[in-house]
Amino acid sequence: MAQIDSEKYAVATQLQLTWWRFRRHKLAMISMVVLALFYLLAAFADFLATQDPHATDARTSYIAPQPIMLFDDDGSFRPHVYGIRGVRDMRTFKLVYTVDPNRKVYIDFFGRGYEYKLFGLFRTDIHLMTLKNPERGDGIYILGTDLLGRDLWSRLLVATRVSLTIGLVGVTISLFLGVLLGGISAVYGGIVDTLIQRTIEVIRSMPTIPLWLGLAAALPNDWSVLQVYFAITIIISLLAWTDLARVVRGKFLALKEEDFVMAAELAGASQGRIIFRHMLPSFASHIIAAVSLALPAMIISETSLSFLGLGLRPPAISWGILLQDAQNIQTLALAPWLLISAIPVVVVILAFNFLGDGLRDAADPYG
């Protein structure tokens, strides 16, 4: 049995070896599952949303989180929430809306709600949960509502989609710049190498947030949500490629000395073939590890910029924009559930860090 195992080990491809090694890293495996779940949530954000994330209603301002009751009084399975009722505050004479525990509103599965496009392609209005015969203001408020009466759960889902994809798009741009410049730096060496390395040092020794803020503030006010989204992504990735470039350059230089590269050269392989067929596959896993460590930094950058009001702008929804609502202490004292938006930020960043650590350890299967 041991014989077969070691044979299997000897003929396994680089990818298989990396995967076997990665599987032993429990925390990284769990993180991968968590991240997969988050991306699933992001993909089906609108389907899982219970309210229109943009719909405002003064009646539902600052409703506290309400659990979904699964069983009716007689013990049968009929999920429901409580309705909303207006009460006159006898001191201020203002109409205050609160939850009315006497009126049950039942939940419909796969019912019709607001219209959206699934995956940005299929127009539909089917949601996982909607309410049966709701009165005005009734809704499923799992995580409560904000000042304008928008449902936090639905907004958080859409924000997750925006924040997670902005990280991916940004990392793709950084990866492109990093591999290109890091590769050029290592392959050509000499003055080109010096120039690129000094540029990296200069970029890294600048305080980034003031620069981002300055550049982001100059985006025209009349740009659409999508334009701002891409502009912000580009601004963030322009300063973030340096780490990737260093990893790529370091690996390139180390591999140049390897026997198999020499063998390929002697066999008459072209430079392009040596780079893409022989060198790149052997450090692809290192790049993947570096990327998974660069992603959380991207997400933090976008969140910080939007939090300061200089990143994405409403009506766009991202984690930073949601946290902007929780910026001052008066609001937090009144509606502490607004801080819930911080939880996915922390969980995702932590998961990406663990995943990156696991991948980095696994990237060197012979080490």
């Binding site: 003031p210 100059a218 300061l308």
Partner: protein, 329 residues
């Protein structure tokens, strides 16, 4: 050693040049020229600008001429100490910034000290007592430090301080000291208020440094020379402090150049959450109001101060770590 200093100095000059170009680009970016914006701002606040005055201003900044001419004129004025006027405050930019720049640097520097002061002993402890309860506890805190962006940490701490103590934790001065002229009492007040924001700011960097220090020291501790030192009867503390720790200090040396800019950067956003009187809130307000001279100047000064701070810390490290001194010769 001289080669090292020269190289660092040259790099610093290039960085400052690039930062100045970027700051100027930031000033130029909003649509229309900034004299138009300035005039619009003035007339909205009631005062009129004659055509001659406007022309005068255009001449002064070389508007309509090529970018590099404008940049040259702007830079020339800055070297003589004239940073332009803030549109929103109608006062010279330097006056508006005032003490805020120094407080920003003080806060970043305090955070740097906290980072080192925490990372070094904790890193050593975690490596020497690997897999102990304390090691796991520090690792956990470290991961939280990495995963929680510092502005979020500030927000959460502020919330709990409010809930538990009913007090607001923001600010660098007590209310009665904020506007007082500088005195010994005010400095003491500042020292008392500094630790909390400095720790919040430092946590992310500390967490990373602890992990690097721990990993490096673990590698060193397995080396044969440690066994030799022990075999020769050196006390345990001396064995560890004298050789492996010094060898493992490398990350402190190589990361310092990037730690300080990172902290200055972070201080902007932490200051906004905690309401600290640094340049952070001023910068964001200036950018939102498109008060570009103020914003550009803040970006420039922050960049320059960061470069100088990094250079000084390089010198300190060179003095501490002989390898850096000799590496470059």
């Amino acid at each position: 050693m001289i080669a090292f200093i020269t190289r660092r100095l040259l790099l610093g000059v290039v960085t400052i040049f690039l930062i100045s170009v970027l700051s100027f680009i930031i000033i130029q970016l909003p649509p229309g020229d900034f004299v138009d914006a300035y005039i619009a701002q003035l007339s909205s606040s009631g005062s009129q600008v004659s055509a001659a005055e406007a022309e005068n201003l255009r001449q002064l900044y070389g508007l309509g001429e090529p970018f590099y001419v404008q940049y040259g004129k702007w830079l020339g004025r800055i070297i003589t100490g004239d940073f332009g006027e803030s549109m929103e405050w109608r006062r010279p930019v330097t006056e508006v910034i005032g003490d805020r720049l120094w407080l920003t640097l003080l806060l970043s520097f305090a955070a740097l000290i906290v980072t080192w002061g925490l990372a070094l002993p904790i890193g050593i402890f975690s490596a020497v007592r690997q897999y102990s309860f304390a090691d796991y506890a520090f690792t956990l805190v470290g991961f939280i430090g990495i995963a929680v962006p510092n502005f979020l940490l500030a927000l959460v701490i502020m919330y709990f301080a409010f809930v538990w103590f009913g007090a607001s934790v923001g600010g660098l001065f007590s209310a009665e000291m904020a506007l007082a002229p500088w005195s010994a009492a005010k400095v003491w007040d500042l020292i008392k208020h500094l630790p909390l924001p400095a720790i919040i700011l430092a946590l992310g960097g500390t967490a990373q440094l602890i992990r690097i220090m721990r990993a490096n020291l673990l590698d060193e501790l397995r080396r044969p020379y440690v066994v030799t030192a022990r075999a020769k009867g050196l006390s345990e503390a001396r064995t560890i402090i004298k050789y492996p720790v010094r060898a493992a200090l490398n990350p402190f040396a190589s990361n310092i150049a990037y730690l300080f800019p990172y902290l200055v950067s972070g201080s902007i956003i932490v200051s906004i959450v905690l309401g600290l009187p640094t340049v952070g809130p001023l910068l964001v307000k200036a950018l939102v109001a498109q008060d570009m001279f103020l914003a550009g100047t803040i970006v420039l000064l922050l960049g320059v101060m960061t470069v100088i701070g990094t250079f000084i810390s390089d010198l300190v490290l060179m003095w501490v770590d002989p390898r850096i001194r000799h590496q470059m010769d």
